[in-house]
């Protein structure tokens, strides 16, 4: 008698194409990343942070409405704003592009890329996910199994990359879009949607570009080693190197050192996309004295940007991405 019950059957069902198989790899990558201890907390934090931002934008919208709870609180409980609030409402009604559009633009500039932002949280999430991207497949030799299936190295890398993008959508792009939507849905007027549309476009452009750059870098770091600890150490090292170089370069003659920090390069890219300098220029043209005020002037100077700055930042980021691609090409292969 046979030791086993042989119940093999042939199949005659459909076989899906390569796009489906890449998507399967992306899904599995995201699932593996979300299984990392603490990852769900990071994702939840991003969304809670987005919710808080939405509440802030709701409050900002309510400032434009007479007799709203927020407006009443400010005018009745805070004497300072008693006379200022009605003037602000009137001015905002006449200049919605500045009062709403520029405020949202500045707000999303800070929300998407500043130190305490969903970018920082996304970098933390990537640091946690890196050992589960390619490193674990290299250490467990699962890369051999992928290679023996109907997917090429390119398909594998593309699937993994899509998986990283899905993770970053959860931690970065999703919360950004949700914040914008919440802010506008809870705004006092529908006109908020088009006044704030540039801020949304800038956010999507910057976050989209950032996701591609960070995704490639994370995959490159993940493919560098088959040791999960070393992979995390490389990522942390890259972040720290960025902070240190940026710090050294900022206060010295060797200002070019700053460009070796991908964080600094991303910030320049963000400043360029959000065109904060342009906003200040428009503000200065309309209210000549305003942008020469102490704090505003400092901010304006700090955010000033030249085409050379942006080109240098783009060149450095491109170099990092090219490095990541070379690492992927060299390392992602069966032993």
């Amino acid at each position: 008698m046979a030791l086993i019950d042989s119940s093999y059957t042939h199949r005659d069902g459909e076989t899906r194409g390569i796009g489906y198989r890449r998507w399967v790899i992306a899904q599995a990558t995201l699932t593996a990343c979300l299984k990392v201890k603490g990852m769900r907390w990071v994702v939840w934090t991003c969304w809670i942070y987005a919710l808080l931002q939405g509440v802030f934008l709701f409050g900002f919208g309510q400032l434009m409405v007479e007799n709203s709870a927020v407006s009443d609180f400010i005018t009745e409980d805070l004497d300072l704003f008693k006379s200022f609030a009605p003037m602000f409402r009137e001015w905002a009604a006449d200049n919605p592009r500045i009062a709403i559009g520029m405020t949202y633009n500045m707000f999303f500039y800070l929300f998407t890329g500043a130190i305490v932002s969903s970018l920082t949280l996304s970098l933390v999430a990537l640091g946690m996910a890196i050992p589960r991207l390619i490193t674990s497949d290299l250490s467990s030799r699962a890369i051999t199994i992928y290679s023996s299936k109907a997917v090429s190295r390119f398909d594998y890398c593309l699937g993994k990359f899509a998986g990283v993008l899905l993770l970053l959508t959860l931690t970065w792009l999703g919360p950004t879009l949700a914040t914008w939507m919440m802010g506008n849905l809870m705004a006092p007027e529908v006109s908020f949607f088009w006044h704030t549309a540039p801020a949304l476009l800038h956010s999507v452009a910057f976050v989209g570009l950032g996701m591609v750059i960070l995704g490639l870098m994370a995959l490159g770091i993940s493919a560098m080693t088959s040791s999960p600890r070393m992979a995390t150490a490389h990522w942390v090292g890259l972040l720290l190197m960025g902070v240190v170089l940026s710090g050294i370069g900022m206060g010295s003659k060797n200002y070019w050192l700053q460009y070796l920090s991908f964080w600094f390069d991303l910030e320049l890219l963000q400043r360029s996309i959000f065109d904060i300098g342009g906003d200040f220029k428009e503000l200065g043209d309309k209210y000549p004295g305003f942008t020469e005020m102490g704090l505003i002037k400092t901010i304006k100077t700090r955010l000033a940007l030249t085409a050379e700055n942006v080109s240098a930042a783009l060149a450095c980021l491109s170099f990092l991405c090219a490095g990541a691609l070379v690492i992927l090409y060299k390392k992602v292969k069966p032993e």
């Binding site: 005659d12 489906y20 199994i145 290679s147 299936k149 398909d155």
Partner: protein
């Protein structure tokens, strides 16, 4: 009687049943089917694989027909490298190779949808459950999720995995890993499966089960199997054709039957007591016989068949408990091949 061929799905899978189709159609159908059966599943021409200056494969030329094929060779002979080159896991340095009629170099992805592979090393995806892993592998071959999940469970049943399939693969024993590797290799219903040392690390019962499964793949389901192993008894047990490879070169390629025929003049007899009498009878009939340490008698009779030997033994009143024609034939052929052409 009018008959027709139905259900031609795999190599040579033909079921005959009465029908109203003319006999000529039937003849055409059958001839086409058998023409397919005769097609080579693997064709290599001057395949060379270099790692630096070292030639892991040296001008390998092969043509392999469907069936269960044993790939034999000592460690480091190039067995795994040959399989990896055929699956495009390693690029071929020189030469041409075709798998299932397609070019390995340019149609790798298409080939791999029709081929399964269970590597020698552990290659499970950390953190996944056994059933998740096999489902995932099926999806990687293009099966939609629901079908992939269903087939994963069917294949896990097939390889004898019970509730262990709901455990993380990281916690599996060697035997479980071998079963899961086999399940993932056949989950997409391939036409050809490469199994690299599938019985390594298994206990006798587990080994027997895996060998039964592998044997059934061709015999019952017409899935060709390339079994790479250094365990001669495994290959002897289930393979119909043997390829012996050493130092990256193919030394021998022939059917097991032919290889055994080369050693047809040797037999092993198991007798109870009477050893000296049996030896006397054998010597008297122009056979060379010697008593082995395990009590068996090795007879060199030099004949095509063992029947005449058994006949004169019976006439002399000797009845062996067991008579094994060509015992260890494969081992001897293997060692001879190595000593003649192989490593010094």
């Amino acid at each position: 009687m009018k008959i027709r061929a139905i259900c031609v799905k795999k190599w040579g899978e033909v079921e005959l049943a009465p029908s109203a189709l003319p006999l000529a159609w039937h003849a055409l159908y059958i001839s086409l089917t058998f023409a397919r059966m005769s097609d080579a599943i693997i064709e290599c021409s001057g395949v060379t694989k270099l790692f630096g200056d070292f030639a892991a494969l040296n001008n390998v030329s092969l043509s392999v027909s469907p069936g269960t094929i044993g790939l034999l060779g000592p460690n480091g002979a190039g067995k795994s490298t040959l399989i990896k080159c055929l699956l495009q896991l390693h690029p071929i340095t020189m030469g041409d190779a075709r798998l299932l009629g397609r070019d390995v170099g340019s149609e790798g992805r298409e080939i791999r949808t029709r081929v399964g592979y269970a590597p020698e090393q552990d290659c499970l995806i950390s953190g996944m459950l056994g059933c998740e892993y096999v489902t995932y592998c099926a999806q990687l071959n293009g099966l939609p999720f629901k079908e992939a999940r269903q087939r994963a469970h069917e294949m896990l049943d097939f390889v004898g995995m019970g509730q262990e399939r709901y455990r993380a693969v990281d916690t599996y024993s060697t035997g479980m890993k071998q079963r899961v590797k086999l399940a993932q290799a056949i989950v997409h219903d391939p036409e050809l499966v490469f199994l690299d040392e599938p019985t390594n690390g298994l206990d006798p019962r587990g080994r027997e089960q895996i060998l039964q499964l592998v044997e059934s793949l061709w015999k019952q389901h017409q899935i060709s199997v390339i079994l790479s192993s250094h365990l001669l008894q495994d290959v002897d047990r289930i393979c119909g054709e043997i390829i012996i490879i050493a130092r990256g070169e193919v030394l021998v390629q022939d059917t097991l039957k032919n290889l055994k025929a080369r050693r047809a003049g040797i037999a092993e007899l198991v007798v109870e007591g009477e050893h000296s009498r049996v030896l006397e009878v054998l010597h008297a009939n122009e056979c060379t016989a010697e008593l082995e340490s395990n009590g068996h008698i090795t007879v060199r009779h030099g004949r095509e068949s063992l029947t005449p030997v058994l006949k004169f033994l019976r006439e002399e009143g000797v009845r062996p408990i067991e008579a094994l024609p060509s015992p260890n034939a494969l081992e001897e052929v293997f060692l001879q091949a190595l000593s003649t052409h192989g490593p010094d």
